[in-house]
Symmetry: C2
Subunit: 235 residues, 2 copies
Amino acid sequence: MSIKGLFPIDKWDFKSESIFADLRPEDFELLTAHKSEHVYKKNDILFREGTYPSGIFFINKGKVKKYKVDKDGKEQIIYLANTAQLIGYHAILSGDRYPDSAAVMEESVITFIPKEDFLKTLDQSPALNKRLLKTLSHEFAVLANSLTMFAQKTVRERLALQLIVIREKHKVDAVEGAPVEINISREDLASLVGTARENVIRILTEFKEKGILETKGRKIIVKDINTLIKIANHK
Amino acid sequence: MSIKGLFPIDKWDFKSESIFADLRPEDFELLTAHKSEHVYKKNDILFREGTYPSGIFFINKGKVKKYKVDKDGKEQIIYLANTAQLIGYHAILSGDRYPDSAAVMEESVITFIPKEDFLKTLDQSPALNKRLLKTLSHEFAVLANSLTMFAQKTVRERLALQLIVIREKHKVDAVEGAPVEINISREDLASLVGTARENVIRILTEFKEKGILETKGRKIIVKDINTLIKIANHK
DNA sequence: CTTGAAAAGTGACTTTTTTCAATTCTAAAA
DNA sequence: TTTTAGAATTGAAAAAAGTCACTTTTCAAG
């Protein structure tokens, strides 16, 4: 997935290839033996930083934020996970506690798979091992990229970049052809970009005045993605 | 490794448990069948971002920086690797190109293991698979932590934190009992902290005036680690 | 259709960080 | 020991980002 060749999205977001794509039927059987499905409401919490993991979560449909909270309660969003993505496996693999929290951003349908089944499947499936190694090292590269972005880009550039990335993500669940409406609170946007809410609002206003985007209630509609790309790449 | 219980270093740095610790002898044999050892000089480059990986590098003794360079040539250090650490495996696992570059920071002895041997060993060793999954997910957590730090802490706080982390790393190769001399250019320090060199220098001067550290030529000696910890944690 | 609480937006001001243009220092090589 | 290039340092000014106090808008429950 790329925008005019300029913007390889998988440099900025995790590949969406399914982690379970090449499992043998018997492995898939074992993995999903005790799965359960739930509908979560907005703001429901899937897991909390510092607790021990009980299983993994597959997002059938919806949006989930992974975030960390610092001493002052300030939230930092690490990643926005979408429909068809799996979360919560890092802690199980590392044998440690969850390094971050996860909360549902809009009503979502999510499948839970107990830790034991995941680990058992991992023991008997070389394909799953290989796939997870690939996924994790790719995720690492994406995160390293984010780090560089935080260290070197201005808030304005980071916001432009995130708007592009979020818009791409929204496409997954969007109606074909219709303009993509980005539905995210200014607070979450600020937390994703790593700045204050007021700052985000000011820059959004500037973008609106320049015709780069429009708002419809609280939703954001990108009108001029090329300028947004230019801004994100500037420096 | 922790400092007064306050500061779990493995939250800020990768575990130094050897990745090869629990390999069977025959797997270790296969892995090291075609290894080669070289002495690298300061500023030698091990690999460059965007190139295809040819193997993995084990640091027998020395210091290596992993970094990314942006369009303007500005360098961002992602990680400082030390004696007994392994680098360059992410790209091989992801099946992609190197996401960052690696350069030697001081004369270093480094063992090279060809990609083919690494992959073959990976195919026949469940222990290596397990260990790598554990390592990668831990590394991911550390990087997520760094990201949060970049997004939420001031330059002053980040510099304090990095000084603590670097000092811990220097201990590995330091003479027992002697004061730890941090040997890093202001430029590299700035690149690690994600700011301008001048900014680093000003804050170092401030720390010096407050008796938190001393300099000996270009080397930095931490005198009051507790204050440094307080500064790093403030917010 | 109202309405109240949460979210969004504004303005003024402060602090932090960057930038640029010097000058001084350090360490390695001659 | 001297030389000298690269590294470190300093000062001043501009720009970016953060903070605080407040007003307006939105949206969903009643």
